[in-house]
């Protein structure tokens, strides 16, 4: 199957360290310009829903955000006509069942727990990237 470029890739993550770890892996698959970071829920809502930002191919969303919580951002994304077809992968520090269930109920397309081991993170992110590259995504005709 022909591998497409999974860009732009939106990352909603407030923690610089976590973003750096994620970026370190994404650097292997995606160009620096292909990753758009939002540092808070407000930032993401303003840029994606109300703003001019291009519709991303995939959104990676942290749940534990300052201000607007990740779950709220997810709900807003899924309520937005333009964005609701974009797959959202939750990447959270929480492995709590309630959080996992709530995320899927709100329309998350996948839920991944942030591992402590960087090797494990790399494996997860590369797998994730590979899967969403292979999967046929909606809205390519825009």
């Amino acid at each position: 199957m022909h591998a497409r470029t999974l860009e732009p890739l939106a990352v909603v993550e407030d923690s610089d360290e976590d973003f750096e770890a994620l970026s370190r892996v994404l650097r292997e698959t995606t160009s620096r310009e292909g990753v758009k970071r939002y540092v808070s829920g407000e930032d993401a809502v303003a840029g994606l829903i109300g703003g001019e930002d291009a519709r991303p191919a995939l959104i990676i969303l942290d749940l534990n955000l300052p201000g607007i919580r990740g779950m709220e951002v997810l709900a807003k994304l899924k309520a937005d006509a333009r964005l609701k077809i974009v797959p959202v992968v939750v990447l959270s520090g929480s492995s709590r069942e309630e959080d996992i269930d709530a995320a899927y109920e709100a329309g998350a397309n996948a839920y991944l727990s942030k591992p402590l081991d960087f090797t494990e993170l790399r494996r997860i992110v590369l797998s994730l990237h590979e899967f969403w590259q292979i999967a046929t995504l909606p809205g390519r005709g825009q």
């Binding site: 976590d18 770890a21 534990n64 520090g93 402590l116």
Partner: protein
Amino acid sequence: MAEPLLAPGTPVDLTNCHREPIRTPGGIQAHGALLAADEATLEVVQASANAPALLGDAVLGRTLEDLLGADVVEQLRAGAADETPNLRPLRTRGLDAYAYRPAEGVLVVELEPVGDHSASLTRYQDEIARVLGLLQDAPTIEDLLQRTARVVRELTGSDRVWAYRFEPDDHGVILAEEKREDLDAFLGLHYPASDIPPQARALFLQNRLRFIHDVETPASPLEPAANPLTGEWLDLSKGVLRAVSPIHIQYLKNMGATASMSIALSVGGRLWGLISGHHYSGPLFVPHEVRATCELIGIVGSMQLEALEKLEVSRRQGTLATKRSAVIDHVAASSSILDGLAAAGEDLLAVCGADGAAIRIDDDLRLIGETPSEVMELLDGLAAADVSATHHADSGMPGVLAAPLAVARGNHIVWFRREYVHTIEWAHAPKSLAVKEPERLNPDGSFRTWAESVKGESRPWDVVEVESATELRSALGTFLITRAEQLAALNAELARSNEELDAFAYVAAHDLKEPLRGIANFASFLVEDYEDTLDAEARERLATITKLSQRMGSLLDSLLEYSRIGRADLAMSDFTVEAVVADAVELLAHPPALRIEGGDMPLRGDRIRVRQLLVNLIGNAVKYSPDVPEITITAQAGRVCVEDNGIGVAPEHHDAIFHVFRRLHPRDAYGGGTGAGLTIARRIAERHGGELWLERSTPGVGSAFCFTLGGS
């Protein structure tokens, strides 16, 4: 209960005197005379046989006006409604006259000689003032009775005057005595209740004074016997001359009395006792003025008695209330009502003047002071919901005062009183003693005392003491409720703070993981990015940082897991031990060989959590066992045990192993671990309403951990 009275005129003896119609004796004491007239015509239709002699003329068929004068009759008719004829005679022709209406349309006039010692009422008014002052000053009931007896003896000149009280069973006991010096003392003697039959007691409440001036002179009969107007024998109970029962005359004669008198003492509508006088030296005519004074003394004495009784009751109530507060203080200061009551000791006994007490609350028994050996049987036999008292229980201690706290749960306070063996000196043998006497009224020509030894009884519990026990019980009831409310509030508070603690642990663990990830990741970056420049030591240190981060991560995961068990709802389902053990084994990295006994035993719980519990227990069994672990799981009667042949736990560590993050071994020994496994397992069992414990453990031989999941 009360048998009907005999027909008037029926001969009476000891067997039927309790039915004697004493109001209609058909005659009068012969020192006076009686005239009964038709009130419409004032014609005398019936009179005592001695009336013509006293008035010096025939009386039957004459009018009262004719005999006594129109003005006197007018006044007598006006005063006839008076309740107390003794106080208001009309003095005419050297006679004191009293009038009353025994029946509709019948006017009775009693006439009595004024007597040799007649004195003006003013003299007695001084006397009355002195006497009333004396009675009012009496500080105690004993004093009051003593003073009353003395005053009455002074006034009447009677050889002996007693004051006696009727006990609850109506027998009398002499509490005060004033007598001629040469006479034997009767103080403290008891009189059987039958000495004063019930109809006589009732009459005392209506007509407070009774004088028998001469036991030797026979009564003067009424003629005709039946009143022509009513066709019945006249009711003489309102008068002063009413003839005495022949039985009573015999009784007095047996005592050697020649004249007697009685004054009623009443409290609260009950005949409390009598002031009673006996004369031994011939007839004793007590003139009207003295009788009137005596009647006043009876009335004032009764009022004073009532006041003193109330005072004594309230004093006693005050004393007992102090004891009750002391008991309540003890209870308030104790962690349990039982301990508080037991700690109150003597104060608890003093609440109702007991010699001992037993308290049982929820099968926990405490004894204070002297208690009977059969106390448990006695407590088990208590069924009444109210406070009950007896002083003749069939028990080692006959006084039993029981205050139930919760009958259904067998919770009681019971006070005991020891047997009070005492002797009652009866003035003469009561019928109940069944003493053989051919002539009971006159055993051997004189009165003599009979000593009755009373056994199998304690001193009776009085009203105030029973009240005090009741009060204490109510106070404790309030306390029980308050204690229950306090516990409920405390439990709610505890549940809330537990929840908060769980929430805190969760947030703390979660938030700590973020910087920890950073630390771990950056250590990894350093190794990756500077692989060529780092020396071996630096690489080793970075590897240690990574390892420590991983370890901290595990600890935080355990904490998260632990806090989650307390917070998450349980998804209950039914499964067998076998099934959930299989679930658990699947999760283990190195599944051991297991032997299961009773695997088909059903369990009900949150299967995921129970699986986790078993993973922890089996995991530990594997971890702390030799290369080939022998693990047996036994399920029986709701209880599941996991037994291994591992290293065991030394007895001093049996508690410590359940403490969160507590490890007994170096953290890298036995494959490491956070030290939270058992704590989490126990919490899962407890969350289900069950328990988890170390059943047995021998170092070097093995351990057995067991758990239950509670009722449902």
